[in-house]
């Protein structure tokens, strides 16, 4: 009945679009971020946005990774909704690709938690159960 449908529709929907960069596992078993490259200026982005954020020209699909270099990193030691501190975060410059924010997969406890050194080489790992991009430090 229409009135009932209308009432049911009035309940807010949860957010179903995940804004985080999407990671796909290729036939070689390695993971890459699906994003876009600008056809005009070559700028890369880890997102499927419709235009180049630098020059506004057209973009085409591209994939980046699996490896990259840590631009900077930290360990978050305060409570953040839905997460358990401490956890390590890094901005990673993917090889020939964009800078992405990633969780650093490592055994982390409050006593020993450290962030990876700036300049460390890392590789995209499986995303967390909750969908966070994760990297692991390469030996």
């Amino acid at each position: 009945m229409a009135v009932v449908d209308h009432l049911e529709d009035s309940v807010p929907h949860p957010i179903t679009v995940d804004p985080r960069p999407q990671v796909e596992r290729g036939p070689d078993g390695l993971r890459r971020v699906t994003g876009r490259r600008c056809r005009s200026c070559g700028e890369v982005a880890a997102y499927t946005w419709p235009r180049c954020p630098s020059c506004r020209d057209a973009v085409e699909q591209a994939s980046f990774g699996p490896d990259g270099t840590v631009w900077s990193a930290t360990v978050v030691r305060i409570p953040v909704p839905g997460r358990t501190p401490p956890y390590a975060l890094a901005y990673v410059d993917l090889d020939d690709g964009p800078r992405v924010l990633a969780h650093v997969r490592a055994p982390v406890d409050a006593a020993t938690a450290t962030a990876p050194a700036i300049g460390s080489r890392v590789r995209l790992a499986a995303c967390s159960a909750d969908g966070d991009i994760q990297v692991e430090v390469l030996a």
Binding site: I15, V17, D18, P19, R20, P21, E43, V44, A45, Y47, P53, S54, W71, S72, A73, T74, V75, V76, R77, I78, P79, V80, P81, G82, R83, Y87, L89, A90, Y91, D93, L94, G97, P98, R99, L101, H103, T114, A115, I118, G119, D132, I133
Partner: protein, 384 residues
């Protein structure tokens, strides 16, 4: 400084300013906080009404500006609410200024309001529709990565980071409206609880509630009028793997260049007193470098040596800054405007910068997601 044949200013002046106390005030609502600020600003300006109002808030609910103003009898006039992250208050100021400058309205109120204690239990995290927010990037972690980068490059030391906190907490001892001042040592700052490596608790701004206001109108040469020399606002260009600087540097540099040009001020070294965005210690270091007040890599040394302290050559954040006055997001920019107005009138009491003639306000805010900040506002003001 020239006195006769005055050619400075762009025809707009700050006629009055006011603020609430800053701090955790969950027992007070935004009506009460805003009333403190607006009542003081109206009294200061000697006015009873305004022709329009711009209100900055980030987390305020829809319609809060009209509800707050209605409670103090300000109704019927055009009211515009603006959100520009930490620069919301200075965005309200910039828009109010432009409305007066172009003659759209005669006398305009710029108001900033924010109640953080009822919105957040701890650190701010960008919302879940933002990639970084959905990934758990609390804002201290963003600044922490800038700080880690500075340490890695040798552009600052941990002790220099801490020196910003020591300086601004000491400044706030002279500001009765500050959230908390304190006489801390570098060692105390560094040994306070780690929030996000390498930033410790005393290097992070507190959770604050507050309001601040300014009344702007045409400059008439009044003895207490603070002239607006120039204002500029930008949103961030892309920030990514090609950026030469840490997040937030380039937007401040570029906005400051616009503002200095608009003001006809040749160099930021001509500025006598500054209120800048120091939500975290590294923020003040990056900002003083981006403004050109110090050389690249010189921001930490400037704080540690006292050059940017009260009594130094270029005092930065005499109010205590966001670190110590507090940081109710929407109110912060107008709290900065109020401080610089008091400084340029010689009304800043024990934290007065002697003989200050030109003051600068800078606010920058936002998350990342390939943006070098959502917004930055830089304003230059001149003494009566």
């Amino acid at each position: 400084m020239s006195t006769g044949n005055r050619t400075t200013g762009d025809g707009v002046a700050v006629h009055g300013v006011g603020t609430s106390h800053f701090g955790r005030q969950p027992e007070r609502d935004l009506v009460a906080l805003a009333w403190d600020a607006v009542r003081e600003a109206f009294t200061d300006a000697g006015v009873e009404e305004v022709d329009a109002a711009w209100v900055g808030t980030v987390f305020g609910p829809a319609g809060v500006a009209q509800r707050v103003l209605r409670a103090m009898g300000i109704t019927g006039i055009p009211v515009v609410t603006v959100e520009n992250a930490c620069a919301s208050g200075t965005t309200a100021f910039a828009e109010a200024h432009e409305a007066v400058r172009t003659g759209r309205y005669g006398r305009v109120l710029a108001l900033g309001i924010e109640q953080m204690t009822t919105a957040f239990a701890g650190a701010i995290t960008p919302e879940d529709t933002d990639p970084e927010g959905r990934s758990g990037l609390a804002l201290p972690a963003l600044y922490a990565m800038a700080a880690a980068r500075y340490l890695h490059l040798g552009a600052a030391t941990r002790e220099q980071l801490a020196a910003v906190s020591v300086k601004n907490h000491a400044h706030a001892l002279h500001n009765p409206r500050a959230q908390y001042g304190g006489r801390h040592t570098v060692e105390e700052v560094l040994s306070s609880r780690m929030i996000a490596d390498p930033l410790t608790l005393l290097q992070c701004c507190p959770t604050s509630d507050g309001a601040a206001a300014a009344v702007l109108g045409p400059a008439t040469g009044g003895a207490r009028e603070v002239a607006v020399r120039g204002v500029a606002m930008r949103s961030g260009a892309p920030w990514n793997h090609t950026s030469q600087h840490v997040w937030g540097h380039d937007i401040v540099r570029d906005t400051a260049a616009d503002a200095l040009a608009a003001a006809g001020v040749h160099a930021v070294s001509d500025v006598d007193v500054l209120e800048v965005h120091d939500a975290f210690t590294i923020g003040e270091i990056v900002t003083t470098e981006a403004l050109g007040l110090v050389a690249p890599g010189g921001g930490g040394e400037a704080a540690a040596s006292g050059r940017t302290a009260l009594g130094g050559a270029h005092p930065v954040n005499p109010s205590g800054g966001l670190l110590s006055r507090g940081h109710p997001l929407g109110a912060t920019g107008l709290a900065q405007i109020a401080e610089i107005t008091w400084q340029l009138r010689g009304e800043a009491g024990a934290r007065q910068v002697d003989g200050a003639r030109i003051g600068l306000v800078e606010t920058m805010g936002g998350g990342v997601s390939v943006l070098d900040g959502n917004a930055c506002v830089v304003a230059l003001l001149e003494a009566p």
